[in-house]
């Protein structure tokens, strides 16, 4: 017994009006229920009779001729014609089938072999491609390292060049003794104008008393008096010393270096005797 709901669904189904989930569910019910299948068939047949209710229309007279011409072009071999031949023909057909099967089998084997070869060729090609990729990658890494090395070398060269340029600008002066009792006292002063700093190395200067210091002076024409370069002491035994210094004022041009003997801690302007001088 089919209920009203399924009758309604069957009617809608006959008109192709069911969609989505409703359609899926109904088709499942239809497959499971022979009575419902029969009802659908009946309703679908009934629905097609509505074709008779369309306002009458006569097809164009040429349509039939066109159709028959089209069919005439088709080979009769296209048709499925029931076989009613003699038994001999049946055996012939069977033999033909067997030959065809053998031929198709051979074709199949050949095709499989060709397919296998193609697969192997494809695998080899893939290996070659991968190998080329690896080589390219190795080359790329090597070039990258070479480039990094070249950059380091270039940086070093630049640094060397810079240092050479700086060295060319350095002021290097030898200072001579101005003391009668210590004529062997000497010093070398180097001034880096860019960094505004220098270093002085002295030798064989007399030992200092406890309340004394040696004081370095830098002579720059732009100033009326020498510029203070700081105080230093020497080793009492060797009379040697080496110290870095910075001036109290900016130095534009070094005309001379001088070392004087001053009281402990130094003085703003030279007061004591000059012990070393160099231009």
């Amino acid at each position: 017994m089919i209920d009203d709901h399924h009758e309604e669904l069957a009617a809608l189904y006959a008109f192709d009006l069911l969609e989505g989930v409703e359609l899926t569910a109904f088709e499942a019910s239809r497959r499971a229920d022979p009575a419902l299948r029969r009802l659908v068939d009946e309703l679908r047949a009934a629905s097609t009779t509505l074709a008779h209710t369309a306002p009458e229309q006569t097809p164009p007279p040429a349509l039939k001729a066109r159709l028959m011409a089209h069919i005439g072009q088709s080979s009769t071999s296209d048709k499925v014609i029931p076989f009613r031949g003699a038994p001999l023909l049946a055996w012939s057909a069977a033999a033909s089938f067997a030959i065809s099967a053998l031929w198709l089998g051979q074709l199949y084997t050949t095709a499989r072999t060709e397919n296998s070869l193609l697969i192997q060729q494809q695998a080899l090609a893939e290996v070659s491609v991968q190998s080329a990729k690896n080589q390219l990658e190795a080359d790329r890494i090597l070039l990258e390292h070479q480039l990094q090395d070249a950059e380091v070398r270039l940086a070093n060269l630049n640094q060397e060049l810079k240092e050479q340029n700086d060295l060319a600008r350095f002021k290097i002066t030898t200072l001579s003794s101005m003391l009668g009792n210590s004529p062997e006292a000497t010093a070398v002063a180097i001034w880096n104008p860019q960094k505004q700093e220098g270093v002085i190395s002295v030798a064989k200067l007399p030992a200092l008393a406890a309340n004394e210091d040696y004081q370095l002076w830098v002579v720059d024409p732009q100033y009326s008096v020498p510029v203070d370069g700081g105080v230093f002491r020497v080793d009492p035994d060797s009379g040697e010393a080496k110290f870095k210094f910075k001036t109290a004022k900016p130095i534009d041009q070094v005309a001379a270096f001088a070392v004087s003997l001053e009281r402990k801690g130094g003085v703003p302007q030279a007061e004591g005797p000059m012990v070393l001088l160099g231009k």
């Binding site: 009203d4 009758e7 309604e8 009617a11 809608l12 006959a14 008109f15 192709d16 009006l17 969609e19 068939d41 009946e42 309703l43 679908r44 047949a45 009934a46 629905s47 097609t48 009779t49 509505l50 074709a51 008779h52 209710t53 369309a54 306002p55 009458e56 229309q57 006569t58 097809p59 164009p60 349509l63 039939k64 066109r66 159709l67 028959m68 089209h70 069919i71 005439g72 088709s74 009769t76 296209d78 048709k79 499925v80 014609i81 029931p82």
Partner: protein
């Protein structure tokens, strides 16, 4: 035998003749195709024109349908439905596919006035039926449809020729969806009971 009984009997005989023609076509008999064309082409063409509202496109559809019947005739099985039902289903589906493809649904709806249905003339009795010059089965169907309530006629007509969804039919007829479903069900069941051949 009453009128309904005579109609059903005539229809069964026509179905049997159609089935024989299909069998002949399956054996390559072109004359059988020509005969089937003479029997089916008018209602199929009318159906397609009714759906597409375009005689040229309808002619293309009908030609395609007969070619399909010719090529697939060996598969025809009367126990699964009549040849006419098969042909109508092919025609309707292809025509609806065509209008959906053209997206001319709205235009066609606008043209779907009740006077186009052909039912009103059938309602007027023998005089209208004579004018229709239809086959016996067509006359029987029209008589059966004309006997349906007007609202069921409209629902069936839009369901068959409209290429619409359920909801679009409801909208077109300004009725709730449930009402439309019920009208289609009752109308189609009555039509089956009156004219449809037993399969």
């Amino acid at each position: 035998m009453n009128q309904v009984g005579e109609d059903v009997s005539a229809q069964s005989e026509q179905n049997a003749q159609d089935a024989r023609l299909m069998a002949d076509m399956a054996r390559g008999d072109r004359q059988a195709l020509a005969d089937l064309y003479d029997r089916f082409s008018k209602p199929l063409f009318a159906t397609s024109v009714r759906i597409l509202n375009d005689a040229n496109e309808a002619a293309d559809i009908v030609q395609d349908v007969f070619i399909a019947l010719w090529e697939k005739s060996a598969r025809f099985d009367l126990s699964r439905g009549t040849a006419f039902s098969w042909a109508v289903t092919l025609t309707r589906n292809r025509s609806i596919d065509r209008i959906r493809m053209r997206r001319r649904r709205r235009e066609l709806l606008d043209q779907a006035v009740p006077e186009d249905l052909g039912y009103a003339r059938a309602e007027n009795g023998a005089e209208s039926a004579d004018r229709m010059e239809a086959s016996e089965s067509a006359t029987a169907v029209r008589r059966a449809v004309a006997g349906l309530p007007k609202e069921q006629q409209k629902a069936l007509e839009l369901a068959f020729f409209g290429g619409l969804t359920q909801q679009e039919i409801a909208t077109q007829l300004s009725q709730p969806l449930g009402t439309i479903k019920a009208r289609i069900r009752r109308g189609l069941l009555k039509l089956r009971d009156t004219v449809a051949p037993r399969v």
